[in-house]
């Protein structure tokens, strides 16, 4: 009787552990925009996503994506990076341009909204807001200060699995945009290793 009870408890514990592990693995895979971390570019295309070559190899092979399963309302560009082993590890989203707004009021309002959403899902972020000094600190020079590198405005969110950054950038003195970067920590580490190998091989 005691042996049977012990066996039952052991089975329940094992099953619970297995479910927990499966849930953790599932959580590790889930990426934003209806994608999954580690997917190959072929698997992404099978979802109906259009991928077009994106110049630059800083993050391995990258593509601009369209027809994604999910995007947020004011997204203009999404760049997916697959490293050198064709596994999705980085997602960069850039918003449409917020034009004719040297104060950056509209882009900052949107930034605040997104900041709250991200904090709700990924926990409190670490803000890095520096709006410049002197001339650059004037509210109507906010976007100008960003465009010249005299100000910066971003928040980092760190979880066990992900590194996320929400930031505001500027195209010129009165046009700004926000961008959100999602990176899988595990896959980033794999990418860094493969990058070194790739660089060594190309020498």
């Amino acid at each position: 009787m005691r042996v049977a009870l012990f066996s039952l408890m052991l089975t329940v514990a094992l099953m619970t552990a297995m479910f927990a592990q499966a849930a953790a693995e599932e959580e590790q895979k889930v990426a934003p925009l209806g994608l999954q971390w580690g997917m190959s570019s072929g698997q992404v295309r099978e979802l109906g996503v259009d991928l077009k070559d994106f110049p630059g190899k800083d993050y391995g092979t990258s593509y601009t994506a369209s027809k994604l399963p999910k995007v947020i309302a004011d997204t203009e560009t999404v760049v997916l990076s697959f490293g050198f082993d064709d596994r999705l590890w980085r997602i960069a989203m850039r918003s449409k341009a917020f034009t004719n707004d040297p104060y950056g009021s509209a882009v900052r309002n949107r930034y605040d909204e997104l900041s709250n959403e991200l904090a709700e899902k990924y926990g409190h972020g670490e803000q890095n807001h520096h709006t410049g000094e002197g001339f650059y600190a004037k509210s109507d020079n906010f976007v100008y200060a960003l465009s010249t590198g005299n100000a910066w405005y971003y928040t980092n969110y760190t979880t066990k699995l992900l590194q996320i950054q929400l930031g505001i950038g500027a195209q010129n003195t009165s046009t700004a945009f926000y961008q959100i970067l999602f990176e899988s920590k595990t896959l980033r580490s794999d990418f860094e290793k493969s990058k070194k190998t790739h660089e060594k091989d190309s020498l």
């Binding site: 925009l33 994506a65 994604l68 999404v78 449409k96 004719n100 001339f135």
Partner: protein, 196 residues
């Protein structure tokens, strides 16, 4: 017979007179005097820009002055072209995107004139600011602000003359209001939280 010929002659002169009047009335506005007055104003601004340009050897302020001068020259060319078309009875019409360009309404002109006034006020303020310094980075920044203000005034003047005489400007239409650029979304739009 002579009486009939006289009647016909008088009739012909009368008809010819009506034709000439109609032709003149069709090209009555704007008058060459108005165009000449605007040309004098623009040429004075070009002269001022030329004189200012000589003050600088190089750098961003000189570049801004050059841009301003080029914009003023464009205004001058546009006005001179319109004036020449009147004198030579050329019917000058501009078609942009299949729409005939017509002189803007008084309301629109007042709106642009108000913008010019505001830009001039900003210019006066920045000029006064720049006069407070005799050198250094702050004066350089102030002079840059002045040059930018001059540029704004020149651009607005170009827009004003273009609107006043119904001349096309190869400048993309902008409503000046803050907003976002319109491009199709790269996927299915969902709520923010559902996308993350």
């Amino acid at each position: 017979m002579a009486k009939a010929a006289t009647i016909v002659f008088v009739g012909l002169v009368f008809v010819l007179g009506i034709c000439v009047s109609v032709l003149l009335l069709a090209h009555a506005a704007p008058s060459t005097e108005a165009l000449d007055a605007d040309l004098v104003q623009v040429r004075a601004q070009i002269k001022a820009a030329d004189e200012e340009d000589l003050k600088y050897q190089g750098g961003i302020i000189k570049a801004l002055v050059s841009v301003r001068r080029e914009i003023l020259r464009r205004s001058e060319a546009m006005l001179a072209q319109k004036r020449a078309s009147f004198l030579r009875r050329i019917d000058l019409r501009y078609i942009v995107d299949g729409k005939a360009m017509a002189p803007a309404s008084e309301e629109r002109l007042t709106e642009i004139a108000s913008d010019i006034d505001k830009a001039n006020a900003a210019l006066s303020k920045d000029l006064a600011g720049a006069a407070r310094y005799s050198g250094g980075v702050i004066q350089a920044m102030s002079l840059m602000a002045v040059a930018t203000d001059h540029l704004t005034v020149a651009q607005l003047s170009l827009a004003y003359f273009g609107a006043k005489y119904g001349m096309a400007l190869p400048i993309p239409a902008q409503d000046g209001a803050p907003g976002t650029s319109a491009q199709p979304a790269p996927g299915v739009i969902v709520k923010d939280k559902d996308a993350f």
